[in-house]
Amino acid sequence: MDREHWLGIAGLLLLIGGSVFGLLIAPPEKYMGDVGRILYIHVPTAWNALLIATAAFVIAIGSLVKRSPKWDAALHGTLATTALLTVMLLIQGAIWAKPTWGVYWDWDPRLTTSAIMGVSFAGLLALRASLDDPERRATWTAVGTIIAYVDVPIVYMSIKWWRTLHQNFSTPETVNEMMVIPLRINAFAMLFIGIWLSVRMARLSLAERGAAVPTAPASADPLIAGRA
């Protein structure tokens, strides 16, 4: 059994625990009522999407420096996981926005930034899929990831200046203990599951890349051209 399965199992158990706590035990939110429970999955998803995107950025730099298939596979894994979490984030955000703001989409900076981040990362996955040469694919994915990641705060700021209409999420410090617990549990649950998914994707990426280059047989007594 691959080692990362322990993380997957831990994440799954935590997610079950956090869900039960968040959905059944924690009291309804003061203003949003039961709809506020969406935050117990939404906020951990958001944290981890950003966290794993940051990991992708760091891995992209590493991949440019190291030029090794393993770094590229790790980058592929974190990119795919970020894209998945971003899609979840958008759907949760839209569902949360409907009862809260009355519309599914309100050009809120965070939601819009997530959408743009999702499209950027999906674009990188599409770029990967259209390249055959593994070295070029690795370099270009890494370059694209660095640029897309650096762009995230720029997009966020620009949309914030462009239109400020956001109702801030409650932060764990200002809500009561019963609300902090499911947030924390689910944050770790999503982190573990995110890592598990990234590692699985990285393994898949390596496996689909095909057999590793066999080491070239070096002759003990090489023929040296040009001496004659």
Binding site: P214, A216, A218, L223, I224, A225
Partner: protein, 228 residues
């Protein structure tokens, strides 16, 4: 033996594409002013070797130094001393022959009698015509002029006789002779083994990405006959 470093020193040079070695375990040690003939059937790795020597592609294994400069650490300096005549023309088809030359001259910071260069390769009359209107043979001549412009210490020629008419053959022979007289180092690949053997010093036969024979150029036709 002189104490100056070899013009071309390759050690265990190899390049893999996916799980296939296009070239592996190549050793070259070419003193300044010497010349090397590359022979071998189609797909043997001659072009890959020349592109590796030209720093157009990165080696998967091994080291390359040009006049003592590590080609990997200091590619810009290495490129100052070498030039490649490639299958690919490296020409802008919209620009005129002269404009192609003047662009290359300006970017590499060289000055010279560009019209004189075109005269040397027999293209003087077409200097102001767009490259797109030139025949394949004329483009080859123009590519040759571009190489001469760079005054390379190490001259890399990939199939210099390709696409040329008999007059072109004579021109290439003459130019190669001049380059040798000027003390430049030559690496040349050609299917016209007899022709190459007549004007070069050392020889090397590649089959399937491996070096199968090295020796004096005069022995190359016999070595090629053996593998045929």
């Amino acid at each position: 033996m002189s104490t100056s470093p070899p013009a071309v020193a390759a050690s265990a040079l190899g390049r893999a594409y996916r799980d296939r070695w296009a070239l592996a375990d190549v050793y070259i040690e070419l003193a300044p002013g010497r010349s090397l003939l590359l022979a071998g059937p189609n797909g043997a790795g001659k072009t890959t070797l020349l592109r590796l020597l030209a720093t157009a592609i990165r080696p998967t294994t091994g080291t390359l130094s040009i006049h003592g400069l590590d080609a990997r650490k200091d590619p810009v300096e290495a490129r100052r001393r070498l030039a490649l005549l490639s299958h690919r023309g490296h020409l802008y088809s919209e620009l005129s022959a002269l404009q192609n030359l003047s662009t290359a001259a300006a970017i590499s910071g060289r000055e010279g009698d560009l019209l004189g260069l075109l005269d040397r390769v027999g293209l003087h009359a077409r200097a102001h015509d767009a490259v797109r209107t030139l025949s394949a043979g004329m483009r080859k001549r123009l590519a040759f002029a571009r190489l001469l412009l760079q005054e390379p210490d190490v001259v890399l020629l990939d199939e210099p006789y390709g696409q040329l008419d008999p007059a072109g053959f004579g021109l290439v022979d003459r130019l190669i002779g001049e380059l040798q007289d000027e003390g430049r180092t030559l690496v040349l690949s050609t299917h016209l083994v007899e022709r190459g053997a007549g004007i070069l010093q050392s020889g090397m036969v590649l089959v399937d990405g491996r070096v199968t024979w090295v020796g004096p150029a005069s022995g190359t036709p016999a070595a090629m006959a053996e593998i045929a």
